[in-house]
Amino acid sequence: MAKDRKTDVLVIGAGPAGAMTAKWAAKSGANVLLLEKRQEVGSPVRCGEGMSKDWLGEVGITPGRWVNLEVEGARIYSPSEKVFEINEKHAGNEVGYVVERDEFDKQLAIDAGNAGAELMLKCAATELLKEGGKVVGAKVKQFGESFEIRAPVTIGADGFESQVGRWAGIPTNLAMRDMDTCLQYRMTNVDCDVRYCDFYLGKVAPGGYVWVFPKAEGLANVGIGVQVSQVSSPADARTYLDRWIAAHPGYAKGKKIDMVGGGVSISAPLKQTVADGIMLVGDAARMIDPLTGGGIANGCIAGKICGEVAAKAAHDGTPTKEFFQAYEHGWRARLEEKLYRNWLAKEKLVTLQDSTFDKVIDVLAGVKLQKLNVHNILKAVHDKYPEVTKEFEAFL
């Protein structure tokens, strides 16, 4: 076909992980094509818009107008609404900034473009090109026209509903307990506190939580994640969220401005994220933190490693599974232990009764922990409610 193209690195999906991969591959000297199936990067937004901020320097992101506001910390509410406040530094990867996600994604696409990557809009991958079992690019469709893009290195950064990994034969399937079904309203005229991101635990959101992330005075993202295995009837996510809002006068009086939904993986890390000619990154590689549901930081951190390895593989002519172990090991060294630990914690949390949540939060609200970690939390709980920590023996 006349439109067929060749490049060093082909990145499928221009979300944060894809744009970050494209940027670092380009900075490392590779020719990069970055595909986005929509006409616009970052839109529509499918995100709670909370993120931590201590990792931004590590991957070369500068805070810009995408920062909506900066919060001081998180408030964790138990089922009887005892509150535990955590300073932003200890609060996990959903707390620090509340962002305009579409602006954030656009900034990362700009960074990728400035590094030399070419963004192809309205361009969807429809299948992978394979030769001798190796991935050698993708068949794409842009403006109704199909053509091929050949590349020694292809990256699947196509998000939660990733097709690329499945096409490549990399197991990415999720069990029902490894996914949250999510729904969020942006609401105005609500009593949110711009100093805090709020999290409500327990039966209000089985296997997940209700969040309130403030966007401005009186304006907040109010959302819910419910573990799919805990859903008993269709539209439970909406039912639970509407029920929570109705039970909270400060939110029941609010007006809904928009609504977004989506799936979030809460799985253990994948066993494999590379194959010959291909690497997966971000939500497509199930890198979302299974405890918090936050995926941006992990996707960007892995994206930088992925981009650097991709450029080197293209340059050296070694786009093999063996060479890609540099990425596989690199992202795991940086992220895997925490992902696995938080997955274990999530598996435990979903089994807790509301009364147990109440006891744990009650203890945490009453003591001042020097350092917030699992061990210190368990010790504090053990001192007051020794029977509760029995459920957490695996962590001691």
Binding site: F160, Q163, N173, M176, P234, A235, R238, G261, G263
Partner: protein, 63 residues
Amino acid sequence: MPSKKHLHIESSGQVCIYCGACVGICPLNCIYLDETRITFDEKVCTRCEICVKACPVGAIEIG
């Protein structure tokens, strides 16, 4: 052989918000999201009903 149940994905926009939750969870990868249209492969689908649970707004019905 018993006939398969009827599966209906309401993707005209009256209920569906095109979030892709069903696409990501489908164990057989037989649900396709194309901007504002969702289709599924009638022959491949086994009516496991996981997508019904995964949909946050109740746009998928089975019966």
